[in-house]
């Protein structure tokens, strides 16, 4: 009993989490360690893509047309830069919505007098916007993958196809996980409301989401723009 009381006292003294040697919540330390390990995963996938770049024996190719006799019929460069630029913009804006969602949760208890304050303090709106923008990005990716398959590029066609679909597919899977996480937070917000005491949990999701964004920043340049 006394031990339980002491434990509760300790947790209260350390801001609702058990005392740690760093004074930081373990969940936040863990998410940064996880993000560090994810850096290594994505750099290994990007390395593989770059090493195989330009070594495909058959088309379609990313930036160059494939002409007979290499390809049975003439194939145009397969990457669609305008569509990918639009999806990149969507993902960047989702990061803005995410950071506004976190700020709204942190300041939930503060009085809001103007329309602008109420708009910026609406965590449900910004969580919903982030999820919608993330889903839109996934829609762009589904469109891109489908059009590539219709143009004759699958994961088994050539080295470019294998490394491209693996890299962007892994990224898409991460975005999907992020959208599910966001929808979970949105459901909690709708059910009981997210407040400042939940800021850490929203911060963890935000860090993951921004990481997915920075990975795409690298992929967009290295895969799509550099010829």
């Amino acid at each position: 009993m006394s031990h339980a009381l002491a434990s509760t006292h300790d947790e209260h003294a350390h801001g609702g989490h058990p005392p740690t040697s760093t004074g930081l919540d373990h969940k936040k330390v863990a998410i940064w360690a996880f993000i560090g390990s994810e850096c290594m995963l994505f750099v290994s996938l990007i390395s593989t893509y770059l090493i195989y770049k330009g070594r495909s024996r058959v088309g379609p190719f990313p930036h160059e047309a494939c002409l007979p006799p290499v390809c049975a019929t003439a194939l145009k460069p397969i990457l669609n830069i305008p569509v990918t630029s639009a999806s990149t913009f969507v993902l960047l804006m989702s990061s803005l919505a995410m950071v506004l969602a976190l700020a709204a949760v942190e300041m939930k208890d503060q009085p809001k007098h103007t329309f602008g304050e109420r708009l910026l303090g609406n965590s449900k709106l910004w969580l919903f916007m982030t999820a919608v923008l993330g889903t839109t990005f996934l829609g762009f990716q589904a469109f891109e993958f489908t059009s590539f398959v219709h143009e004759g590029l699958t994961i088994r066609t050539n080295l470019f196809g294998s490394s491209f679909f693996t890299l962007t597919g892994f990224h898409g899977a991460h975005v999907t996980a992020g959208v599910l996480w966001l929808l979970t937070l949105l459901a909690i917000d709708m059910r009981r409301g997210l407040g400042p005491k939940d800021a850490l949990n929203v911060d963890l999701c935000a860090l993951y989401w921004h990481f997915v964004d920075v990975v795409w920043i690298a992929i967009f340049t290295l895969v799509y723009l550099i010829k």
């Binding site: 801001g15 609702g16 989490h17 760093t22 930081l24 936040k28 330390v29 940064w32 993000i35 560090g36 390990s37 850096c39 290594m40 750099v43 290994s44 390395s47 770059l50 090493i51 770049k53 830069i81 630029s85 913009f89 960047l92 804006m93 990061s95 803005l96 995410m98 950071v99 700020a103 942190e106 300041m107 939930k108 208890d109 503060q110 809001k112 007098h113 103007t114 602008g116 304050e117 910026l120 303090g121 407040g195 400042p196 005491k197 800021a199 850490l200 911060d203 935000a206 921004h210 990481f211 964004d213 920075v214 920043i217 690298a218 967009f220 340049t221 290295l222 723009l225 550099i226 010829k227």
Partner: protein
């Protein structure tokens, strides 16, 4: 406007979240978004300039702009500039190892070369 100053909310556990300096205001977040958008526009714009694509500046400028965007998101949106230094170590340590491995692999497979004696 109340949102211009990122007041210390009574129940946000800043210590547990590792917040050492106050996070930026919402107006900073908007400015960062505008900067990121403009840099992306420039990246795509130079992609469509054949003379620039053919020049030696094309790849370095794209890499610099990409690194800039990466750093801005990590510093301002992920708050690494404002949070505990342990988080910086946990992120930059693996990133440095990963980037060193990437560069090593590029040399190993002949994608990067030093001088005339490079691997073909």
């Amino acid at each position: 406007m109340a949102h211009d100053t990122h007041h210390e909310a009574a129940h946000v556990d800043h210590a547990a979240m590792g917040i050492e300096k106050e996070h930026p205001t919402w107006s900073t977040y908007w400015k960062v978004a505008v900067v990121l958008t403009l840099v992306t526009v420039v990246e795509v714009w130079i992609y469509y300039i054949p003379s620039f694509v053919a020049s030696k500046l094309f790849v370095p400028s794209l890499l610099i702009m990409s690194a800039f965007k990466f750093a801005v998101v990590v510093m301002f949106y992920m708050h690494l500039r404002y949070d505990h230094k342990l988080f910086r170590v946990l992120f930059t340590g693996p990133l440095i190892i990963a980037m060193t491995t990437l560069v090593g692999l590029m040399f190993l497979f002949g994608k990067l070369k030093l001088g005339a004696g490079a691997i073909p």
